[in-house]
Structures are given as C-alpha cells and as structure tokens.
Symmetry: C2
C-alpha cells in the first residue's frame, strides 16, 4: 500500500482538498464551499469528513492515509487553531485540529496558508534544496512564509511572517487590520486595484479600465490591459513593484534569503510584476546583498498551490 | 582540567579577549589595540597570539583551551572571513579564522558582533530558555542578531540581520553605507547625536547641549542631560524611540520574537530609550502581537558583552 496524505486549503469562499503522495503527485482533489448556512464550524467539519471519506473510497484500497495538513488564514501551527480570521465565517478561536481529530485519528498539522505554501515550494516547487527563502502570496491580501535553515519561521507564538502588515507609509491607505499604510493595501490583488483607481483619479490618461467598476475589476483584467499597452495598467504595475521591491530589500536585511518567490493571483502577471520588483529591490539593497537574491515565480502548478502546501506541511512534519 | 574557551571581540579601536568557562565565568580578560602601524592583519595576529599565550600561561595549568570564538564587524559565520569592514584597518576580505588557525589548532568560529551578542544573551544573559528573540546593539551603528528556533539566523550567505540598514525615510539622512534614510542614521549613539543637532537647529529651547560640539558629544552626555530634564535631550530620546519602536513593530511581523533586547552604548540610557521604544512599538503592532513582546535591557554585564558573546558563539558550536 502506498502512503498518502491529505492537503486541505481553507479559503474564505472555497476549501480545496487533495490526496498527495510523497513525490508530490496529486492523486485526487476536490473543491467544496467553506460557507455553511448556519456559520458553524461543526457543520463544515461534518461535510468535510463526508467528502474526505468519499474521496478516499474513490481512490481505492491501494493507498494508506498517514496524515492531514491544513493551510488556513490565521492558522496557528503550535495550537492547531484558526484565530480571528477576518475572511472566515467562524469567529474567535477555532480549535480546528482538535475538532478534525474526532474524525481522523492520525497526525494532523495546521498553519497559515503562506507558511504552507513555503513548505510546498520547498518540497515540490522551485525551492527544492534551498534552506533560506521567502514566499510572498499576492491574493486578496499579502501573505508570507519565511524559511530559515530549512525550517518555517513560526515565532514564539506561531504567528510569524505577517509581511502584509509591515508599514509602507505612516498615514497611508486604510487596511482591514484597522491600521493605515500596511504593505498589502498597496501590494496584493486588491492593492493594485486601489492603485489603478488612484491613477484614474490623478491622471487624464485614456484607459480601458475606466469602463470597469471597482467591484468588477480584477488583477487579471489589469494584466490583460497591460498586455495591450494600457498606460494606467502599466503604471500600476510599476508603482506596485516599486513598493514591493523596496520592502523586499528590507526583508533581505532580516534573513538574507537565497530567493523570494511570488505566487497567488497577482503573481500571474509574471514579468509585469517581477521586473519592477527586482529592479527596485536591487536599487534599495545594502551593497553586500546586491545581485545575490533571486525573485522567482512559484515553481508549483498554480491551481494546486494551496493543496500542495498543506500536503507539504504534513509530509515535512512526518519526516521529523 | 577544566575546559575553557577564548572569546575575542574585535572593534575598530580595541580588541577584547577573555577566557570563559561553560558557566559563563570570565576567568581572565584583556584589551589590546586593534590598530597596528602597518595596517597589516598578520602583524595584529602576531600580537594577538602573544597576548593569548600570555593569558593562558597566567591562568595556569588547571585549564584546557578547547575553542575560540570571534565577534567582528562584517564577520561571516560560514566562511570565517571579515569582509569589507568600514571601521577596520584591514581592507577587502580577510580570512581571519584561517589565519588564526595557524596559531591554534582547535575549533575557531567567527560571526558578526551582534550575532555573537545574541548567543551570549542566550547562554549567559536574559534570553536563557528563549528560542525566538532579537538583540539590537546600539553603538556607533545599529547591529542586530536574530534568533529563530534557538538558532542564529545567518541567511544563505552568512550576512543576515542588518536591521541597521532597513529604510526609515526614502530620502532621509546620509548613511555610511552610501544610501539614505537607514535606521542606524536615526537610531544609534551617532543617530541620537544627529537628532540632538536637528532639534538644536529647529527649536529655540535652551539646552546645555548647545555648549558641546558634534565631535565631543556622546550618547552618555545626552543621557546625563536628560536626567537633568534638558528638553532637547528628552525630545531626542522620544524621537529615537518613536523611530525604533515603529521599526521593531515591523520586526515582530517578521519573526514574532518573545523579546527584543537593547544593548550597547545608547541602551545604557535605560528607560529614556526603552519607554518610548516600547510605547511606539505597541502603537504600531498588528493586534495579534500586542502586549506579547518584551523590550528588555541586556541581561549580561555590559562591559563584557563582546567577550561573552564570542565565548557563547564557540560554546554553542561545540555543543552541536
């Protein structure tokens, strides 16, 4: 029998599940809704358990489940809890691992989605063989996973790696965390939308993006416009890369990583975001770090990053 | 025979040596000049060797030397080199460990002074039992040592932990590194001198510091003035603590440490620097980190921090 794990990637809207072997083959996967009509995590767990049992039945008896990894916003590695996640229905502190253990009596580990992505990148992606790197997830917000000496940095309380909330401007854009000027208000799928709107307010440049309302605008549309040469879209990428690059120069002064990986929705823009990020990072680096740090797209297949990260988390744990 | 190590703390002007046992007793110590008339590291090593042999002879035959630890500016843990240190006479890349091994055929390890201070704090100071903390040395510049999971963060190239050069203001004060607005241009013994001069330029407040020229002014004098209620000195500490505190809030978002230790000359000011630093750090922290992170003075005897750090480095290495 082949040993496999289950990777679970919990998002605000959807939860993705996948059965993954040690070599990183995604044997089966599925997406279910994270939301239930009663906002109750126990209802969700009932549904999740049903789906997992079904998926295990479908792949047949040639596999043995040996662990479950979970990536979740505000997930705490030490306690296995999801704490005060603004984008989830479940309020307060949810003891997710303990609750899931009622259904599965095997090792279960949980961490935040960006830390999980870092482990996925290390086991299955572009960070194979690297001991010091950072992963930045550019989705609705900006998440980060920091790896030092081959280990994810969890910090004394399990909450390390919140680069989305380092300060860019003391009195800058309002952030969902209640403060102002956080990095993710500029650098994320939502951040670049805000930047497009800033440029549409400030300049008279013609732009196809003038026909799209804020709610409908996506990072993808901005990339599409940039491909067609839209000057507002191009300027928005330059502005985003300048802020990200200058802050990554600071990040290098902390842990001196070999590479920084960009993944998530906004990273799909490829060189539109990577080129200015690299440029402004180099412009702001202390000389001893210059031309040493790679800025790379994720080496994992993008639609599975969440599942592979969560699977990587539990494989990494089982190897300890 | 009792096993001992030698800790060597190389500074721009003086080099301090000490024989230290595992329990952190400094059995003998000495200070020699780092500078030689010929600017040659080999001349320095000859003198250093002579002094070390003398000190070992003096303590007698009850001790066995089992290792040497060296803390030096721009010291690289991986290569044992001192690279382009602006405050030392030796230019370029100096293979210090290899050169010292010609005199002593025992384990010798080198790192930068702030990383060594972190190991000293962990073995002999206030960080005993802590696995995640940061040490900030506030001397001529600002040095930093970051500990994650009980290990000093060296980064992929051995140069991690240069918080003195994270950016505070994009077009701020000129820094010795050639860039502008680095943290150490505001927060260090030199930084607070510059701040005093800024306030003397901007305000009409009477101050005893108006009678001191820049070259003569020291962090100690500013503390003395603050004790006497000098408003310029007090404002300078507030300003310094505000900048340090806001940047330490960012530092917490990286590695979520249990405590941040302040040591070195400016830290002698005690609460004049610790109080505003703590206040502004808390004001800028992401809510999940609030009221969790201690700001502490070093727990080591201050005149020996360098020696104890270097000794801690080699004891830590010998235990691996």
């Amino acid at each position: 029998m082949k040993s496999v794990v289950i990777g679970i990637d919990i998002g605000g809207t959807f939860t993705k599940l996948g059965v993954v072997d040690k070599e990183g083959n995604n044997i089966a996967s599925k997406s279910i809704s994270t939301q239930t009509t009663d906002n109750n995590v126990n209802t969700f767990l009932e549904i999740l358990n049903g789906e997992l049992k079904k998926i295990l039945h479908e792949i047949g008896s040639g596999y043995r489940l040996i662990g479950i990894g979970v990536g979740a916003p505000n997930g705490n590695y030490y306690s296995g809890t999801i704490e005060f996640a603004p984008n989830l229905q479940w309020k307060g502190v949810v003891p997710f691992v303990d609750l899931l253990k009622k259904y599965f009596n095997i090792p279960i580990v949980l961490t935040n989605d960006a830390n999980a992505a870092a482990l996925g990148e290390m086991l299955y992606g572009g960070a194979k063989g690297m001991k010091d790197f950072i992963i930045i997830t550019l989705g609705t917000g900006l998440g980060s996973g920091i790896v030092v000496n081959g280990q994810v940095v969890y910090g004394h309380d399990g909450f390390a790696g919140e680069l989305g909330h380092i300060n860019v401007r003391p009195d800058g854009r309002e952030c969902g965390c209640g403060r102002k000027g956080c990095l993710e208000t500029y650098v994320s799928a939502t951040g670049i939308k805000r930047t497009v709107y800033k440029f549409l307010a400030d300049s008279l440049e013609p732009s196809s993006l003038k026909g799209v309302c804020f709610n409908d605008l996506s990072a993808n549309m901005i990339t599409e416009a940039a491909i067609k040469g839209d000057k507002v879209a191009l300027a928005a990428f330059e502005y985003t890369g300048e802020i990200l690059g200058s802050k990554l120069a600071d990040a290098v002064a902390y842990t001196s990583p070999e590479a920084i990986f960009l993944c998530g929705g906004l990273a799909q823009a490829g060189d539109f975001i990577i080129r200015p990020t690299k440029l402004y990072m180099e412009m702001n680096l202390l000389p001893i770090y210059m031309n040493k740090v790679k800025i790379l797209p994720s080496g994992m297949k993008d639609n599975n990053v969440g599942i592979m990260g969560a699977a990587g988390l539990i494989w990494h744990e089982l190897e300890k």
